[in-house]
Subunit: 79 residues, 2 copies
């Protein structure tokens, strides 16, 4: 089954990439951009068909590889 | 208002970053991962309060900066 994993920086963690995008948008003439934060989206296609097992496997992947849980949080959604 | 922009590679476009994640997952012992594709998630906090105007502004941002529309597609969602 297919899952989407969203990995975002925890609030309070500085996001230089998002800040750079905000500056670039301002330079292009977009006013009124209060803040920009950038995260990752990972689409997983797993052979596992059972939703509960697939989500639990994806959680395990997040803890071990996909997210740095010190500064990032993650959210898993079935597609 | 807050919007989330999801930028993904169009299907058919090679995704070396996703492929690298798939290999790393296999090396960690995760079996049954058919494919991995990685995209970007951008959270925008705009001063604009009107939803229609905010989404149209975000579309403009995607066309001009956030997405490379030759190889990437984007999706905008109000939070």
């Amino acid at each position: 089954m297919k899952l989407r994993v969203y990995v975002t920086l925890k609030s309070g963690v500085l996001d230089p990439q998002g800040e750079a995008v905000r500056h670039a948008l301002a330079a292009l003439g977009f006013d009124g951009v209060n803040s920009v934060r950038q995260g990752k989206m990972i689409e997983l296609d797993l052979a596992e068909q059972d939703a509960t097992k697939a989500v639990s496997m994806a959680e395990d992947m997040c803890e071990k590889l996909l997210a740095n849980t010190v500064i990032e949080s993650y959210r898993i959604e079935p597609v």
